[in-house]
């Protein structure tokens, strides 16, 4: 059999070796499932076979479901009962047959057993893992909008108790072999060479009945509805799920439901409950959108799928950073972490040294909290040189400018940097909004100039917007992408425009939220609605934290740049009122949209005199859709203008860069999920009601009329 090799040794122990054809990792495919089912029947029927060991020929034991296949077939899922029968049940039934066929099965876990891989192991009567760092076990399905669908949500709680199993499945954190042994997920850990013999040894004397199929089975720690403590646990877990997901992601609570309701019935019924709930999650667009953006599209970005071909990779050994502020030091840190030597230039040697010291102090705090090791910190700091002399940039392969968003200052910096740099080295600007092509004007070697928009805090934010100016060459783009890959960050490629992609999208969101104040909507309502829509922080609280002044200055700068073409953003007058008239410029100044009392944010009572409150019940749903749609509309405009050329990249950028709600999959997925025609109709309605900024362009209307989604539908299977 192609996907599963079967051999039988002299003792009558079958060795089943997973090796799914055409895949780098073992995933659950139809042919693999059928092969396993056939093997189980053969083992059950043949009296000469005493039992079986399941292992893998690949580096991993088994990686679980085939996510790409699931994304592709999502569009073909229409009938719940059919999906239940054809997708949710078959593998579950094979595993149930395996554990009840009367012959002992042992899992010899040689590598990562994630998702369906661990579920296969859990269906075996005994599990042994190799003492090897590559052995990791986990059930991470909730993270992609699903839940374990092959018995995992039922077997793991019966093995280790509900209170230990649920966090493992909600958080999906992989466990090492040792951790899995301590938790009771596996029975033994042995040295890698002893793995198969240990498993075989067990099979020869093993018991072919799972604990939960015994008459005297007692649910460890108690089942749901039987102990008040477990009831309280589920109450808190469901409450927490409702709060943290804001009810936008069905997976966590659905998993809880499967565990609770499954825990009080026999395994066969429990598996039916799991399959039904899994089916519902699988058919929910949240799962598809999450998988497509966070797995498929992000994976493509990480693999540099759109890197210009035929450009030799650039080995980046030396990085220069100009501007030792928070962003600059963050870029220096991640570059050093990636193994490059780094020169950080600031206006004076003392300023540069002080910045490095601040970084060291930050590390010291991390070390104190046990989040970092001293030798790691020392290694990073040893690679970073603080300097003020631009001549130190002479050896750099790439130099990233991270000074204030001031054209004149940047121009000076570029000239001095270029004078010191090798001509073939790349000069990048970390500007978050100034068009790259205009910044490149007058700079030597404009083809080696590019925008690299990092996000703050650099060490934690995965996204980098790579902005290609008019003069940027393919080679520069390709090699800048190589640099981002070296940093283990996720690049999206964006064409030049004011605000690029992410800044442009978040700007309309923040502007809309501020403008809503003029309609008499309360800040608490706007911010709570935004949180309900899935944004991590309310926009007004966020602006207060960044200061209202910061955005006001950016708006004013843009107004003078744009000249006659300037269109007043919806929130501009609010910015002006708070900065110019009210003197409430943001939290740092003591007050903004909110008041601050002893460091606590509280409502500002005076606001109702500035903007009289709107009467009537709080229109939370309307605010939620406005905050989401205004951004999706801006994303569509960026697509129309060619700023972003791939909806997947746009979605990855919005979710990773500006906290666009992950459950939507991003602004393009959101439009597709709503349906482009329905989305356009809703925006027309919003435009009539709230202003022309909601008016869809002729291009988008035409696209909607054709029913042309941003993502191509997968061909019907």
């Amino acid at each position: 059999m192609a996907d599963l090799h079967c051999s039988i040794d002299a003792d009558g122990v079958a060795l089943l070796t997973l090796d799914v054809a055409g895949k780098s990792a073992n995933v659950v495919t139809d042919s693999m499932r059928i092969a396993l089912a056939d093997a189980v029947e053969r083992i059950a029927a043949d009296p000469a076979i005493r039992g079986a060991v399941i292992t893998s020929a690949k580096n991993d034991f088994m990686a679980g479901g085939d996510i790409n296949a699931m994304i592709a077939f999502f569009d073909t899922l229409t009938d719940e009962q059919q999906v239940y029968r054809e997708i949710s049940r078959p593998f579950t039934e094979v595993l149930r047959r395996l554990e009840t066929c009367g012959k002992p099965f042992a899992a010899a876990i040689n590598g990562a057993a994630m998702g369906g891989g661990l579920e296969l192991a859990l269906a075996c009567h005994w599990r042994v893992a190799a003492d090897d760092p590559k052995v990791l076990m986990g059930l991470p399905e909730v993270g992609i909008g699903l839940m374990p669908g092959a018995g995992g949500s039922q077997r793991l709680p019966r093995l280790i108790g509900i209170q230990k199993a649920v966090p493992l499945m909600l958080q999906g954190r992989p466990q090492t072999a040792k951790q899995a042994l301590d938790l009771g997920i596996i029975h033994a850990v042995v040295l890698p060479p002893d793995l198969l013999s240990a498993a075989k040894h067990w099979v020869l004397q093993g018991d072919a009945v799972q604990p939960w199929d015994r008459k005297d089975f007692k649910f460890p720690g108690g089942a749901a509805f039987q102990r008040a403590e477990i009831g309280g646990f589920f109450n808190l877990a469901a409450t927490s799920a409702a709060g943290t997901t804001q009810r936008n992601q069905p997976a966590p609570v659905t998993l809880l439901s499967a565990v609770a309701r499954g825990s009080v019935v026999p395994m066969d019924a429990a598996l039916r409950i799991e399959s039904r709930l899994f089916t519902q999650l699988l058919m929910n667009p949240v799962a598809r959108n999450t998988m497509r953006t966070m797995f498929a599209s992000k994976g493509a970005c990480d693999k540099l799928a759109r890197r210009p071909k035929n450009v030799a990779p650039l080995a980046i050994k030396s990085v220069g950073v100009i501007g030792a502020g928070l962003m600059g030091m963050g870029i220096a840190q991640v570059s050093a972490q990636a193994g490059a030597t780094v020169v950080v230039i600031d206006a004076s040697q003392a300023q540069a040294e002080a910045a490095k010291q601040r970084l060291a102090d930050g590390f010291a705090k991390q070390i104190e909290k046990g989040r970092m090791k001293a030798d790691q910190a020392d290694a990073i700091l040893a690679k970073i040189e603080a300097a003020s002399d631009y001549a130190r940039l002479g050896d750099c392969d790439i130099v990233v400018e991270a000074v204030f968003e001031d054209r004149k200052l940047k121009r000076e910096v570029f000239a001095r940097a270029r004078a010191a740099m090798r001509l073939d080295a790349i000069l990048a600007s970390n500007t978050s909004s100034l068009p790259i092509s205009s910044l490149a004007e007058g700079v030597a070697a404009p083809e080696r100039f590019i925008g690299l928009h990092f996000f703050s805090p650099v060490d934690r934010m995965a996204l980098v917007e790579v902005i290609r100016g008019h003069a940027t060459s393919d080679a520069t783009l390709a090699q800048a992408l190589d640099y981002i890959k070296l940093l283990r960050k996720t690049p999206i490629i964006v064409n030049d425009s004011q605000g690029f992609f992410t800044t442009r999208v978040i700007s309309v969101y923040l502007s809309e939220a501020m403008g809503m104040l003029t309609e008499g909507l309360a800040p608490a309502l706007i911010d709570n609605a935004a949180r309900q829509a899935g944004f991590p922080v309310g926009p007004l609280a966020l602006i207060d934290d960044l200061t209202i002044e910061l955005g006001y200055h950016a708006s004013c700068q843009y107004r003078s740049d744009a000249g006659a073409a300037w269109v007043e953003p919806y929130g501009f007058r609010v910015q002006a009122k708070f900065c110019e008239e009210l003197g409430r410029k943001g939290r740092r100044y003591g007050s903004g949209f909110y008041d601050y009392v002893d460091g606590r944010r509280v409502a500002w009572k005076g606001l109702s005199e500035v903007y009289p409150p709107q009467a009537g019940p709080p229109a939370v749903e309307a605010i939620k859709s406005r905050l989401l749609y205004i951004q999706a509309l801006e994303a569509a405009r960026a697509f129309e203008e060619g700023v972003i050329s791939d909806p997947g990249e746009g979605d990855v950028g919005a979710v990773l860069g500006i906290g666009f709600p992950g459950y939507t999959g991003g602004p393009f997925s959101l439009i597709d999920t709503v349906g482009i025609a329905a989305f356009v109709a809703a925006c027309e309605h919003l435009a009539d009601r709230h202003g022309e900024r909601y008016r869809p362009s002729a291009w988008l209307r035409a696209r909607a009329a054709r029913g042309e989604a941003f993502y191509r539908r997968a061909a019907a299977a």
Partner: protein, 403 residues
Amino acid sequence: MTDAYIYDHVRTPRGRGRSSGSLHEVPPIELITQVLQALQQRNALDTSRVDDVVLGVVQPVGEQGCDIARTAALYAGWDHGVPGIQINRFCSSGLDAVNLAAAQVMSGQAQLVVGGGVESMSRVAMGADGGGAWGSDPIVTYNTYFAPQGIGADLIATRWGYSRQDLDRYAHASQQRASRAWSEARFARSVLAVKDELGFTLLDRDEHIRAEATLADLAVLKPAFTLMGEKGGYDAIALQRYPDVFAIDHLHTAGNSSGIVDGAAGVLVGSREIGEQLGLKPRARIRAFASVGSEPTIMMTGPQPATEKALRNAGMSVADIDLFELNEAFASVVLRYMEALAIPHERINVNGGAIAMGHPLGATGAMILGTVLDELERSGKGTALATLCVGQGMGCATIIERI
């Protein structure tokens, strides 16, 4: 429709609902049985004439389970022909029991029914039933926006702007009123001393009252629901339901919330005809009653619509009611009710309430109805309305008229 009359009301004193409480050593079956026996003795009742015993119990499990109403009738030595039914609508169970007793009489299907309730909170603690699907089945908890009562109480205070001082002032008045009522023996007609097997009195006073408590004493108590709201995640649920609220102010304490106590109560309800036959004198007529559902996360705003519905049923208005009795589950519940219906403090809970004397869940409704009837008689007033806020967002109200 037959009129239903209240012929008698008996309650135990309320013992502190903890292991040091005076009634902790008394099983709930003994508490309710002494109440039934008192009703029998005080009215020289031929128990074969009793058509039903309806009892509220909020934790009907363990020794309070298994239809304690029938068990109590049997154990009290009542005629075997008297059936019993245990009901549960959380905090209004005791009043619902009286309403259901009245409903049987009004419909002509019964002549004489006992409505009442029992709760030994020290022995069968809140949550002993596991919280049911509402509290422990995760998808149900999630979809119904579950939050415990304390969160709702603090949300009421936040939404309508009641300060900690407002709540404490109300609580202080409850203590003062309850202790005055005791010192003037205003509960004498109804309170039955609980006796042990040898006839010694175990408790003859509500022992939860803190007559000496000052506003300053109340002010030092720590808010009780901050941790639950913030760390337990229930504040987030409340904000999902009330997105115009910026944050929940946690203001309720053990001092301005109802006390956890043990107790039992019974109300003898019957037609005029049976009263005449048995030589009983009616004390009040039950004019109307109503139950409603209200938004469940804030949970305790039901008394207002329940009151309005009962008033509609009676063809009356707020102005027609001389005395109101709203169970003091939390101070904010009463303050909101007074504000919403424009009821002055002088007309409500005039002898204190559960903040001072405690709230034995299943029994409270029957207790407060009896308390307000005693007060009508003492003060010579005519009409009263008893009401309670109820878990999962409900309310219950009953209007009586003194004979």
